[in-house]
Amino acid sequence: MRSSSRKPLSPEAKALLDVMPTRRGLLRGVAAGGALALTGGALAACGAKGKNPTAATSSAAKVCATPDVSASERKLVFSNWVEYMDTDEKNAKKHPTLDGFKAKTGIEVTYREDINDNDEFYGKIRTQLTECQAIEPDVVVFTDWMAAKLIKANQVAKFEPTKVANFQKNLAPSLKARAFDPEMVYAAPWQSGFTGIGYNAKIVKTPVKSIDELLTRADLKGKVSVMTELNDTMGLILLSLGKDPANFTAADYDAAIDKLKKAVDSGQIRRVAGNDYLTDLAKGDVGACIGWSGDVIATGADDENVKYVIPEEGQMYWSDNMLIPITSTHASNAMALIDYYYDPKVAAELAAWVNYICPVAGAKEAMKDIDPELVEDSFIFPTDAELSKAHAFMTLADDVRKDYERKFRAVIGA
Amino acid sequence: MSVAPTPVAASAAATGAPATGGLTLTGVTKRFGAFVAVDDLSLHIPEGSFFALLGASGCGKTTTLRMVAGLEEPTTGAITLGGADITRMRPYQRPVNTVFQSYALFPHMTVEQNVAFGLQQRKVKRAEIKPAVQAMLDLVQLADYGHRRPAQLSGGQQQRVALARALVNHPQVLLLDEPLGALDLKLRRQMQIELKRIQTEVGLTFVHVTHDQEEAMTMADTVAVMNAGRIEQLGPPTEIYEFPASAFVANFLGQSNLLTAQAQGPSGADVAVEAYGSRFAVPAARSRITSGPAHLGVRPEKLHVTTEVVPEGHNAVPGVITDSSYVGVSTQYLVRAPWGDELAVFAPNSGTGGPLHPGTEVTVHWHPAHSFLLSAESGAETAAEPV
């Protein structure tokens, strides 16, 4: 969840929003017992529909030919994470920057906050994309590793450089030449963020300074939560082992898994949390946790006991990226939208509302006109020194990720 | 033990000795809210008798029975059994068993298990239970049905299981709550005889609640007719039938022709009665009153119709036949008297002469010893319609 500093939801409502789609998306038959097993199987079966299971497995991905009707249909559907867009103070359905886009281009945007989880949302659209069947969204937002996965699977449309000139020009230097999109033609960062440590000073009297402390300090025993996203949790543990999350070996990973396992087995780790980690932290059931900068800072604004710490070992740096699904019939409209958000003024307007790192160069200058106080906010416009302590997680091949994911799940109990 | 006052004593108990054992109710009242179900009832049922509580539904007879069983608690009054006060005892502590109207057989148990239930609860030795159960099933002629479940039995068989289940415990009193109500007529007659046979064999005190006057009369030594929570009359069936105590009893038990009359005082061995301008005589021994407003009663089968001469000494009323129903064993006539009321007459089919037709002018007559004189003060209004 990316939450706003302006209008935070109640922790319960937030937690609810966070967990609900996971449940809705997969095993619907919780109350129906045996149906649980059935549903899982049915989904599994549907997932492989149209495939000849006995056929050879490699490079089955098709290249879809999708017409672009953008010229005649001045509209698009934008699927984003909840609380990730500037919102009118009075009318929660109005988004000033989107209205600006409509005014500028005449393109009508249907905005949906229907993404809560990378895996879960991809699970919903995966089959259609694989089969070159149309899905509704023309712009979707996925975190780096999932974006990389879609790019690799030929499931996103390539940008036409002329139509995303702002993006290619104004993308923050630290985000240029990313391994999964070196030419900046597939994934345009929407917002970026750090993963570090959050703690509640009411419960934890001594500040938690490092990942090592988080995983071993005796006074934190049974009060620590880590995240279900592999990149966040394992990235920080790799850092604590002195490894570079952007470039590590299988042996490094195994060592990190061992370290996590010790912390789980000793009872140091109380929970492996999804997006609802913040509720636990705010309530004090969790004293210290792995958390996302924007979330923790926003909560800290309401409750001074909740604090975000950049671990001594460094923090993880990630982006959520706008992608155009390969089956989108409004690709040009979508590119216009992407380019619009790379106008520094628009980016600053958005950044002033969303408390995450703005990926647009020049937005810092534009911010002076909007909210001068935020210009020096290092969690919106981090300094180079801060960025130097931030690390990206390396892009993994599908089978490697599966293997790592399996090891990670085995340690956290599921 | 006859310590308790027994205002209404059963006069012809089978044992003739109400002194030992027996069931005594003293001043028992049961109220449900404002409704008085049983009103200051006092009653003694001698040990070994077959006692019937007869009444229409809602008269309090079942409530009385349930108080004896312990399923209801009296509002006031006392119940003693064999001299011991059982008024506040829990049902499972009382040496009393009930045959329920619905039988209430345990559907999940076999017939044997149903019958053995009470003995098991009383911790009778296992070795003794089996023969006792078998003997009881023999008695009710269900020896081969022990392993069946109640649902696999006919209504009559279920009824006998219910009976066996209660009897096997040798209760001091066996309560029967309309036990034959669910059976068809033929089976009911058969079971009546059987119940009577069993009661004679085992010699227990039976208290039988029924609304069927014929059933009560067939089986019971003593019948108590209940009405509105009170006992109207108690005695042997013949006494109640031949000489009812009230207009209610006269009409509830069988059928009666009741003439509104005025008793005019004793006249020799008779009481002189005037009704509708005519004078009649009723033997003093068959008169509840000697003067004042009265009902002169005659049972329909005691009336004769004739177109000829009335025998000497009979009372007579002229009339016209308005209806004639031939039912084989007898012919039932309705005869309109001069004052407009109709008299019911049952003429036995003795083979002499054919049925008379409606419109025939006849004389209805009866022997004075066959009539009875009741007080008109109470009961007449609530009397049940003639059946």
């Binding site: 059935l38 199987g41 599994a44 492989a48 497995t57 995966r126 059931d285 340690v411 109990g413 | -």
Partner: protein, 308 residues
Amino acid sequence: MSAVVTTPAGTAGGDTYEPPPEPVAGAKRRWWVPYVQLFPGGLWLVIFFALPVALLAQSTLWDPAGSLENGYELTWRWQNFSDGISTYSDQFLRSLGYALVATILCLIIGYPLAYAIALKAGRWRNLMLIGVIAPFFTSFLVRTLAWKTILSDHGWVMDVLRMTPFFGPDDRLLATPAAVIAGLTYNFVPFMVLPLYASLGKLDPRLLEAAGDLYAHPIKSFFRVTLPLSMPGVVGGTLMTFIPAAGDYINAELLGSPATTMIGNVIQSQYLRVGDIPVAAALSFTLMAGILILVAIYVAVSGTDEVV
């Protein structure tokens, strides 16, 4: 039947009623009629039950090296089962254990409640029934999240428990097996109460009077009459509780810790996170088969068909 009819047809308007002769079984009706009548139900079963189960069964034998993007190969890999069972035996046993404990607790809580509603509530009966069903009007998730607040380290339950000698300042309920079982018990108690209520509602109170009349103390009456006659409700309720509880993952996810994950959590993460469809399917299938076997044994032992 025709042999019974002794009066000639011409006198049918006479004295006694003769029922019309029944059609002779099997002779005139076409043999296929029953099958046609079964067709809609059968089709429904095939589409919504048999087919998914068959597809699930097939996917359990895929080679896990595949992916949804690239397709899976059916290699009859029975190892998926042995892998899944051996790797996740802890979670399997935990699921069955938690579900069993929760079911027993549901029975202990639900029986007196159902008994009170069915036999003692009188005019409050409908209100109490609504009370039992009312939680269904809120989402399963919200209810479980509420338990998170109730059992919180800083909630009133823990404050009270810490006053007892059994709980030290660092002990907790949340993120323990107790919390998961409490959540399961709470969430599934209505599934226990409703069948029990239906069963006890059919109990003839006169049978209890009869038992009392036959010298049975009320406690004895309960065990000899009430309980045996409510066995269909007990069996139904325990199944309705145990089966979904064994497959649940929400309670373990929200109220548990890494040490309390259940098989439902594993299936979820294998399917959604790891993307190992064959193993997820094999685990689902094993869970389903395991529960079916347990249920079959249970029903056979409890002998519900005997009870009226």
